[in-house]
Subunit: 187 residues, 2 copies
């Protein structure tokens, strides 16, 4: 084959998650996540929750989509700041996460209600198999930074999680992060 795409390099700050040259950034503030937190009301202002820096390529199964996510520290009520979470539109597509800075949890769930929680910290390589929705949660006092890569045509289905939630939530307990059942799951 005669390839159309030329090789290229992006410089990633391994602690801050920034990309140079700057590619494409998605920003989520608390107002972008209505209904995601159990105790969503009564927050002051509209804080930044996370940014995703992307290296976008064509959405085909020949490509690898790469991004870094920078999740701010904080809570809403006792729920830690988290990403929206999604299934892949093509359900069987897998994803990997590499922890770079901070401390977090990767919360995953299947459509039939199983869940799994894995740690994220510098050096963790998490494998999110096809069929598992995934959300990251910052349980530390500093920014959580990780790199993610997935099969290029996976696509995003945010709606299922927005409507049903995930079976568990991660909250600040007296002795640190607790994983508890989500009382609104499936409602």
């Amino acid at each position: 084959m005669t390839p159309n795409l030329q090789p290229f390099t992006t410089l990633m700050d391994l602690e801050l998650g920034s990309l140079v040259p700057h590619r494409q950034t998605l920003e989520r503030r608390l107002s972008d996540m209505p209904g995601y937190y159990l105790d969503g009301a009564g927050e002051d202002g509209d804080p930044l929750v996370y940014r995703v820096h992307m290296i976008p390529v064509a959405e085909t199964n020949a490509e690898i989509q790469c991004s870094t996510t920078v999740l701010e520290p904080g809570t809403v009520g006792d729920e830690y700041y988290m990403t929206k979470g999604h299934f892949h539109q093509i359900r069987d597509r897998s994803e990997i996460y590499i922890g770079l800075a901070g401390e977090g949890r990767l919360v995953m769930a299947t459509e039939d209600g199983r869940h799994a929680v894995e740690p994220i910290h510098p050096g963790t390589v998490s494998y999110v198999p096809g069929g598992w929705a995934h959300r990251s949660v910052n349980v530390g006092g500093d920014r959580l930074v990780f790199f993610a890569a997935y099969v290029g045509d996976a696509g995003h289905d945010y709606g299922t999680i927005a409507e049903r939630g995930l079976p568990v939530m991660v909250v600040a307990g007296p002795d640190g992060p607790d994983v508890i059942a989500n009382p609104r799951y499936g409602a």
Copy 2:
């Protein structure tokens, strides 16, 4: 879908490239690379050139194959230690490299003889588009360590490079690494 695979975590040493739990390791000594170096004869002993630590998953286009490569410092004649290099068996499958430690070059080439050379050092995210053969070269005095991820069904075609070589080679010049034409290319 009801997934069969459970999420799992591997701990990667971000400087040494080791994986815990240990997954699968491939080791290449100089004797495993006959004909790869221009000045292949006359080397003493059979030094280790590189190791690849893999997190193997099913070879389907739903999965992401991940590995770390640890390339020793050294030269054969004036050619820096390098990996064998390969095309993907499914030619259009892409790959990404993340530089973790050391200093190297990513040498790439198309079947019709174009070439590209990109740097590898901590924080580089290199995009190897489909159709580009790829080989890494350690041009520094320390180990070169990088992480790689590619679409699960890509497969490896080592034969084309073993027979034809790549259009360029990276050699130790008087002022540092030089990229020069490979006199044996295509021969």
